[in-house]
Amino acid sequence: MTTSPFVLEVGLGILMLCVFAASLVARGEDRRHIGWLATAGVAVLAVVSMTLGPSGPAFGGAFVQDGLAVFAKRLFLWATAIGLLGGMSQDRLPFLRRSGEYHLLMLASLLGMFVLASARDIILLFVGFELMSMPLYALSGFVKRDEMAVEAALKFFVVGSVSSAVMAYGLSFVYGAARTTSLAGVAKAFAAGDPFVVLGLLAAFAGFGFKIAAFPFHMWVPDTYEAASTPFVAWLSVTPKAAGFVALFRLYFEGVGDRVVFWVPIAAALATITIVAGNLMALPQQNAKRLLAYSGIAHIGYMLVGLAAASSNGTAMVLFYLVAYVFGNMGAFLVVEAVGRSERSEHLSAFRGLAQRSPLLALAMLLFLLSLGGIPFVAGFWAKLYVFWAAAQQGLYWLVLVGAVLTVVALFYYLVVAKRMYIEPPDRPDPVALPGSLAVAVTLCVLGIVVIGVWPKPVVMAALRVAAPLF
């Protein structure tokens, strides 16, 4: 079936218009129905996306809807659907009264991700990147009466703006070397070894590094995660990263041929420091969201291991990792939201005795943690296995070893959370209040990691299929 390459983008645009219109007519304090509208729309788009296949390029190749883009968009849509669903339970005033703004910003950012996944033109890439980023700055400070949230928003904004300035600066060199804005030209210039394009791509990496939160660019992550509203963070922690990786593949890998190995040492070095720093810094954390933030940084390190393989297998395995990570990490954050709502605290001690208060919720959290830790039967196991495999194929055995050893460190802090939930006695006997929408979102995440954990093949095959044409 050949469809227009813009089906999803157009659909999303229509949805945004609907949401906008709804928020214009909405009255009263509780405007959450706008949120339901957005959620339902995204869910419909997510379902629609599953029926889509790749289609040809548009606008002279500036926009493509190839397998990678479709794969990425499905991932964004599902993640956003779950994220919006999980966010529906928020009952603080801004979320009730400004539900329209909140969801419009989310959708705008989603649109930016779509563009990023499809862009084969540096201007489009940059605009998509900014379109994705800017709503995020606003969203992270959405609770604008909360002094922590606004501080986080400022930090996020400043670091983000500097990163995009650096990125734009880099892209200007890229353009200067390629003499065209199309990525095909860039790939050609890179393959020819133009020093400008090398400088440009290296500098542009600042933007991607910022977005995916690789080690020295990661510093906004813990603060923002800690202060922003949790369901938003759940979404923030996975989807923009996925978008960042997809764009990375496009800009750095697609069509550059054998020159791709140029990135191997850099990606490997970044992977190493990111894994080490993320895991080590997670160790002393006592705030669940900060802990997950640092663990997320470490996960980016593992994905960079796949990136360091600089091969189609490596790329595919990063994509698979992203899928596993989306479900595992979002799920974990959503459980934190459930507990945080109920206990008014995101400190790890809020999890004390959760297994006795809400056994199913605790079990879900345990599964997420196991998935993040890379234990069999849940998706994260395969994810780690596959990126290591890809790296080993490339001969990066030392990297695999570093990664494997630090997995043990990571398990330590995941088990610390498990200890809180299962081993320590509860402070209160009553179960944690769990709103329906949040429960559904968590259930979806559990299903995701368990189904993929038991039956990873379809996702792996799909990832392999879409990654192959890049090389």
Binding site: I122, M134, G141, E147, L154, F157, V158, S172, G176
Partner: protein, 99 residues
């Protein structure tokens, strides 16, 4: 004047902007630094465009300018909201979140 002259000029402006961002205590001051950095991008783009006789760079710089404006607007809004909540816009006093 050669291309390198313009590029060096751009690099200098970029470095000065970066210097501004990392040294200014005031959030608005940091913002000004970012403006300078983006300005350097435009110099680069236009210079490349001119020397390669390609319009892409001009288009790019148009977009950059527009984006910069959006960024400034959003950034200043954040500064204002911070000011309301925290009664300061000295960025280095904003360290509730750390560690």
């Amino acid at each position: 004047m050669s291309l390198h002259g313009y590029l060096t000029l751009g690099a200098l402006v970029f470095a000065i902007g970066l210097f501004g961002v990392v040294t200014r205590r005031n959030a608005v001051g940091m913002l000004l630094g970012i403006e300078l950095m983006l300005n350097a991008v435009n110099i680069n783009l236009v210079a490349f465009s001119r020397f390669h006789a390609d319009l892409g760079g001009i288009v790019f710089s148009l977009f950059t300018i527009a984006i910069t404006v959006a960024e400034v607007a959003l950034g200043l809004a954040i500064v204002i909201v911070i000011f309301r909540v925290r009664k300061t816009i000295e960025a280095d006093r904003l360290d509730l979140l750390r560690g």
